[in-house]
Structure formats: C-alpha cells, structure tokens
Symmetry: C2
Subunit: 405 residues, 2 copies
C-alpha cells in the first residue's frame, strides 16, 4: 500500500528499539525495578552541570525570538567557530569553521554524510560487528555495506580491510570506541588503517574516505583515541553530544570535514545539500549553543567504569565469555547457545533485556548496555546466574560452554 521499504523498516523496527519498547511495556506490567533493561544506549548519568547552567543563562540573557529562531543550515556561526577551534586546539589538527556542519545527532550525521559521499552503488566497508542502523543509512544513501571481519578482540583486521577495498569502495566507516563491543582502536592501528587507505586511493586514483563515527570518543577507560584526521587526510568525523553530555534525546552533533580532504569545499556543499534533501533545516538551536558552551565537558565516566568493572567481573566469574570493554558502555557477551535470538528470548524469561547480535552483523553474542544505575546491575546478577544455570543445566554439562576468564 505504501512505500515498501519504509513500511518494512517501520514494522521491523531495530532489534534495539523493539526491546526498548518491550522493556517499557514490561516495566508497566511488573514494576520498573523488576525488569533489567540493558537494551538501549541511553546515558544513565546526568548531563554535566554546564548544560543546565547554560540553558538558564541563555533564557535569562537572550531575547526569546532570537534564542529560538532559525540558524543557518550549517549552524550558528559562533557555534561552528567554537567547534572548529576546539578540534584544532584539542587534537592538534587543522580545522576550519567553514567545514563544520551542525546536525540533529549521530544518526543524522551518518545519513547526511553518507548521502553526500556516496554515488549510486558505491561501497562502504564496515568492520563487524557494527551499529545496525549503518545498514539502513548506507542503503538510504544508495550505497552498499560491505562487512569485514575483526580480530578476536574485535579490533581491526587490517588485512581483511585491505582485501575488501575495491574500485567501488567509497569509504571505510569505523566506530571507535565501538558499539557494540567497547573496542577502542589503538593509535598504531588507526595509523596503519590510514596507510592502507592512502595506498588504495593511489591504486584506484580516487580517494577512499575514512568516515569516523565518534559519539563515544570521550567515554574511554584508557588512552584517549587518536583523532582520525591526524592519521589520514580524506577524513570526515561524525560527532554527537548524546553520550558525552548525556543529551541523547536532544539530537545534537556535527559533521567535521577535514580541510586536508581533496575538494573539501565541494564535499561540504554536498553535505549541505544532503541535509536539505533529508529535511534537516538546522540543528536544534538552543542545544547548538549549549553544546558549544560545554565543549570538552564530559558526564561522569567514572560511573560507567564502575559499572563495567562490576558487570565484566561478575559475568566472567559466572562463566560467561566476554572481552573487557576499553570504551563506550557496552559489554558484548558470547551467548550460551548458537542462536543469539533464542538466547535473548530465554534471557527475557529472567527479565534480562539483552540485544541479540544478529543485527550487528555477527552471530552468537548479546549486547549488554551497562549505562544503567549500579543497583540495576547488582540486582540483575542473580538473573544472569540463573540464565547461566539454565543452559548449564539444560545441557547436563557443568563445564562452561565457552572460554572462561
């Protein structure tokens, strides 16, 4: 009856959103505290104080008709300038305010940047597992997603990437810190990737872009990640303040095109055009200004680190196999049966909401979003233990089915 693709997308929903909605309904049924909702990456720590301070300051000092009016499509000039200056100062790379495009968050950044970059049928190489909406956005931009394997720690398999790049490859899309694995690519890893891209660009006589999706940049438990523009010239950085400032629902982020990109101005024009075609008139203005005022501020990463340590240790001790996350707020756990969807259904019986890995492009895992209250993790542990016992019992086998810590 209606656009087939859109109807299917709407009916299916993402596995994450599906579970999120199920969780909301289930909480109403049996009480919020009885459901262990690890489904969605909704920040659990409050926005830093600067957010509220800036909102109040703006309300008190700016006339409402100026404060809430349209900005230029690419954003308020002062905000773009602040972002460019922040990138330049913090990461030591050249950046120009003329190449900063404020967006309605990371998903908007992805759709707009991919629509600008991709010509019909061009390919985007993406390491697995990946954020499921990448497939939707690459498809919406008329491109083709080419998944490539990663190593046993979910870090880049550089050989696989090099082999996957062909003459139709337009970009390699990386997400570090990674959703859903928590992997943070090391500087040497990113530099090696840059070298491969440079080599392949020369080989095919056309740039292979590095598209870096970085909403989790500040949420790391070790070394801060290298800035992608520092390792490769044809780079587009996609950023969102959703996680760093705990503003996921306010839809505010940006696209930064490296001034070292070939034809950077033309690419930026294509970004503006893509924003226009997708109906993005401008990014929400109040939060443009809030974000600019809070550049460099970060929500309490310590809370996420404590959650990570608690959850990782407890689950590993129970016998679950998982890799310790280096960043973001997700734990990727091997399932106790090969079918991740069936495992996630079984987990529901214990009121554990875990996202099966199939839509992330791999089989046999669940994603556990630990951006929740610490007490939720504490109270969930008996459920995780019972889930483990269910499988161990069901198999009549007391050994853990996978590698133990």
């Amino acid at each position: 009856m209606f656009d087939r693709k859109m109807t299917e997308l709407g009916k299916e929903r993402s596995a994450i959103r599906e579970l999120f909605e199920y969780g909301n309904a289930r909480k109403k049924q049996i009480g919020e505290e009885k459901v262990f909702d690890f489904s969605i990456g909704n920040p659990s720590v409050p926005a830093p104080a600067c957010v509220e301070d800036e909102i109040v300051r703006l309300l008190q000092t700016e006339p409402a008709e100026k404060l809430h009016g349209y900005s230029s499509a690419a954003g308020l000039p002062a905000v773009r300038k602040a972002v460019a200056s922040y990138i330049q100062t913090t990461f030591g790379v050249p950046m120009s305010e003329d190449l900063v495009y404020m967006t309605c968050g990371a998903s908007a950044s992805l759709v707009v940047a991919l629509s600008a970059l991709l010509r019909a049928g061009e390919e985007v190489v993406v390491p697995v597992p990946y954020f499921p909406e990448y497939a939707v956005f690459v498809d919406a931009a008329g491109g083709k997603l080419v998944p490539v394997s990663t190593d046993e720690r979910f870090h880049l398999d550089l050989g696989a990437i090099e082999r996957a790049i062909g003459e139709r490859t337009r970009a390699v899309l990386v997400n570090s810190p990674n959703n859903p694995t928590g992997a943070v690519y090391a500087e040497e890893e990113m530099r090696a990737l840059g070298e491969i891209l440079a080599k392949k660009s020369a080989e095919y006589g056309a740039p292979v872009f590095l598209v870096a999706d970085e909403p989790y940049r500040e949420l790391v438990y070790g070394e801060p990640p290298v800035y992608p523009m520092a390792v490769y010239k044809d780079t587009v950085v996609l950023y969102s303040f959703s996680k760093s400032l705990s503003l996921a629902g306010e839809r505010i982020g940006y696209i930064a095109v490296s001034p070292q990109c070939g034809h950077a101005d033309e690419l930026f024009a294509a970004v503006c055009g893509a924003g226009r075609a997708h109906g993005y008139v401008c990014a929400p203005v109040l939060f443009q200004r809030v974000a600019a005022a809070c550049l460099g501020m970060v929500s309490d990463v310590g809370a996420y680190r404590a959650n990570r340590d608690l959850l990782y240790t407890a689950l590993s001790d129970m016998g679950y196999a998982c890799i310790v996350p280096e960043g973001a707020f997700y734990l990727f756990v091997k399932t106790l049966e090969p079918d991740a969807k069936a495992f996630a259904e079984q987990a529901k019986a214990h009121e554990l909401l875990l996202v099966p890995s199939d839509s992330f492009g791999v089989e046999g895992y669940v994603r556990v979003s630990y951006c929740v209250a610490r007490e939720t993790i504490e109270r969930s542990l008996p459920a995780f233990a019972a889930l483990y016992a269910h499988y161990r019992g069901a198999r009549g086998d007391r050994r853990a089915p996978f590698r133990r810590k």
Copy 2:
C-alpha cells in the same frame, strides 16, 4: 566528485536561504538597522511565556538523565497522547495517540510523510505558488511534483486540481494559511476539494491522499481554517510549532495520520520507517514536552496583523499590486518588471531583501516576509517608494504597471 544531486542542492541553496545568508553578511557590512531583511519566515515575536516557564519547570523537577534521554522514535507517550487529545477536542475529529509521530519540524514532517506515502514515480499535485522545498522533498521521496494553477486570489482552482489528478497521483499537498501568498482556504473550498479527492479515489480505485502542511494554522486574521481531517478521510496533517510558538530553530512538530485513513496503521508504520531511514531517531525531547505543555498557546498574532496592515496599506498606496494576506506572515507582491530575479536584485540596491517568486513556481512576484520588527517596516517604506520610483521613472510612465488597489 560527490553525489551530484546533493552537491547541486548544497551549492544552489534555496533562494530564501541564499538571501538570508546575504542579509546576515550585509548587516555585518553596513549595520543591522540599514538592511531591510524580509527574506525568511523567522518569527519576530517572542515565544509565549509558557515556553520558558515549562523549560524552567522541567529543569527543576526532572532528573537530567531522564529529561534529556531518548524517547521512543514516534515521541514520548505522554506527548503523543496530549497532541491526539488536543486535535480531538479542538477540531472535533477522531484522533488516536497511536497515529501521532513527533518530528523535527515541518520539513522533517514533509520528507518523512512523503517518503512513507510515495512509491517510485507517483505524483503529488501542488497548487502554485508553493514553498520551494516541496520540490526538493517530493524529489527526495522519489515522486514527481505536479504544479496546478490557483485563482486570482491564490485560492484553489478546483477544476485545475480535478484535471491534474490522474492514475499516478498519490496526493494533493495543500498549505493553508499559505506560504508565500497568505491565502487561507475557506471551509467550502476545502470541502469541495475533499469531494473531488473522494470522487477521484473511487474512479481510480486507490486513495488520493490529502496532505495538509499546517505550520501557520493559528496565524490567521479571520475565521480559523477548517481541520482537514474533517473534510476528507484519507488525510495526513503535518504540523510544526515553529510559527505558533516562535520556535523555528528548535525543530519540533508532528505528523498526524487520520484514523479514518484506509490502512492507517500500515501508513503509520511507513512513517516510522521513513523517519528511521532519514536518520530521525526522535524529535528533540525537551521541546517535545514544551510543545505538549503549550498546546493551543500562540505567539502574539496581533503584532503580525499590525505589520500586515501597515505593509499592505503602504505598498498598495505606493502603487504596488498585492492581495491582502488572510493568514501567515507573507505578502506576495507583483514585481514591477517581468523578471522577478532582476527585480529582487534591484531591490537589493535599496537594501530591501525580497525573495523572487521563481522558486515558488510562479513568475513575476516577490515574497515579503513581514515577521519583522514594526520599525523595520516603517524604516523600509522610503526604500519601497524609491524602488517603485526607479521603475516608474525608468519607464517614463507615471501609471502603475499593474493593477492598483
């Protein structure tokens, strides 16, 4: 180098945005008060007090991590319920919260609704003149815009619409109060349109949808317009709070699918899918709640009415030909030479920023956005008079070139 269509869209920009940017640059050059910027529909009266009150109340009462977190893709349940209840109570039509989808403003509503409705190559009939981005959005949704003429007061030419509807017609898109003409379609006009759509739907055995783009609904100087769902069943209403609450930069609006639509649930699923494909994760949450709290509140329409009266009377008295606007905040003025772009360029020499009508789908007019400070209009009048004199003098003809009031 990049996606051709996106690059062109980005380089061209809309005529409105182009002039808006020119105005911003020009104001820096010669001073804000010397430029008479009638380019953009940026509300000039402040948001009603309820907006700031609600923001402050929410900051004081809601935990930040809840307040700024993701909502469901279609919006916060309480907000959708409030919108549905408001529509039902205010307009006396059935409405369901399950058919309300909160959006990032009117442009997002258009892109998402059109992407949901249109199958490849289907046509959308649009009365001229029309908001220029309609062409961009219909194209982005894979459809074809079919312009139809209007009468001498820019009201619907029902015969022309009936003739334009063919077997490939998916929808008629109307915008009342109208941008750029200020026309507000009368109830009998809308009822007659509904009858034509019902007749044509029966003839072709498939619904021809009424898509009503209504960001100016409350900005009227006479009778309030009939609610589109009251005149025709297969109706989708697109709404934005940009104008009614003077929140143009905050990007908040909604799509309401009539429960009387055939296959309404399926259409709503397609709307959700289209939102997903275009990267709209959810509408900005703080302003979802602000909008819900301020339903039925409207910025000071009296200020716009006073501007309309002043500008219309002054320009008519000078000799300009224009129709008195019944709503919105635009005056559509006949140009004093056939080429509207040349006329708008000439106006720039008098520091008057007027949007030429070509991109609205008609020739020989300029749009004057009178959502400006009253003093701007007052100070601009000598410039309008000088512009008129330029043409009258240049022609060596003391008669007005077009119909006088």
